[in-house]
Amino acid sequence: MEIKVLGPGCVNCHKMEAMAKQAVTELGIEANIEKITDIGQIAMHGILSTPGLIVNGKIRHSGKPLPSLEKVKELIKSEA
């Protein structure tokens, strides 16, 4: 599974990355988590408000407020 966390490096972006990692660990699945911080790259992925979460090419979350850890797990699981 391909997971991408997109954000230029704000506090919420770090939180989102940590949550994605924890969700993957708790779900016990194989996933490659990539952090994308370049603004051009972020825009290229179709994310307009950060942080963004892309799972297998689909935008599952963008912007604030952040989803809960449970929600992130759900989003990831639905693609597994």
């Binding site: 290229m44 179709g46 408000s49 935008i59």
Partner: protein, 315 residues
């Protein structure tokens, strides 16, 4: 009901005299705080539900290839409900331009989004009445529309950083959310927002009470009152480099109005602080060349100054 509650706390529970300065001030403070938080939580929640239907990714599709005027008007209105955070200004700008949203229309959105929103509306309504709130919101939207049209007319596409035009966004489909999920979003949004802005709100109300009762108004009136024709100009110029969101401006606005600054001057100051700032220029430098940033700031500043004088004239 709120009034009775405030009366109960101040006069029955704390046994303060209704005629005393302190009793009156505290009663006013409790009543205002309850009223504004009640308004804030219900209206912010309501707007957040609407907002859940217009994530920026969708807004950009709505505005794509829209014509001048209609596009600018829609952009300014969508700016009210679409969440905006200055840290997202750059990806937002790129996303809009890449999706074929005309440059002028993109600017209408960028101007209205931070300046006009439900928080500004509620706070101004709660503190100064619905007339002031509506005037601020209405002129804010008109200012965003007109500034966007002017920027569009100037044909400044060449002053957007070259790489922006080369970006081709991937498919990037947003997965639609259910109504239930939208309500969860609205609840989380409201909770997060209140958590972030409550100190400003409390300080704003408290400052209003204190200034009202205790501080002489001569100073501000003398230098920035109605009679000084340069007050608006100076207030806007001071506000340009500064940045604060609408909530943070409320205590300042309260204090200035309380000290006798003319309402139009204060609203113009609030607009120039929220709409344009030095940090925003630095962020926009990533996507715009300096010439376009200067033009953008110049047009918005002139617009705000006109609005300020107009306010002082009609209010």
């Amino acid at each position: 009901m709120l009034k009775e509650f405030a009366d109960y706390i101040t006069y029955a529970l704390l046994k303060l005299e209704p005629t005393s300065h302190l009793g009156d001030a505290l009663n006013f403070f409790i009543y205002d705080t309850l009223k504004i938080f009640l308004l804030l939580s219900t209206i912010v929640y309501g707007v957040a539900v609407i907002r859940a239907y217009f994530p920026p990714e969708k807004t950009k599709r709505i505005l794509s290839h829209k014509r001048e005027f209609i596009g600018n008007t829609m952009a300014a209105l969508l700016g009210i409900v679409t969440p905006f955070c200055s840290c997202s200004a750059v990806p937002l700008f790129i996303g809009f331009v890449e999706a074929g949203v005309p440059l002028g229309v993109t600017f209408s959105f960028l101007i209205s989004s931070p300046m006009v929103n439900e928080i500004a509306l509620i706070m101004l309504w709660g503190l100064f009445g619905w007339k002031i709130a509506l005037i601020y919101t209405g002129t804010g939207v008109v200012l965003a529309i007109v500034s966007g049209i002017v920027i569009g007319k100037l044909k400044m596409e060449k002053y957007v950083q070259d790489y922006v035009w080369e970006i081709k966004a991937g498919a990037g489909d947003i997965v639609p959310t259910s109504f239930r999920e939208k309500l969860v979003y609205a609840r989380d949004y409201t909770a997060e927002l209140l958590k972030r802005i409550w100190p400003y709100v409390i300080i704003g109300i408290a400052v209003g009470g204190i200034v009202h009762g205790y501080i002489p108004t001569d100073f501000v009136v003398k230098y920035a009152g109605r009679d000084n024709p340069f007050a608006v100009l100076v207030a806007v110029l001071i506000g340009i480099p500064l940045y604060s969101n609408a909530a943070g401006m409320i205590p300042v606005v309260q204090a200035l109005v309380g000290k006798g600054m003319a309402m139009g001057t204060v609203l113009a100051f609030m607009m120039s602080v929220t709409a344009i700032s030095f940090p925003e220029a630095v962020i926009l430098k990533n996507v715009l060349k300096m010439r376009l940033i200067y033009t953008f700031f110049g047009i918005v500043a002139v617009g705000i100054i006109i609005v300020g004088y107009l306010f002082n004239f009609i209010l």
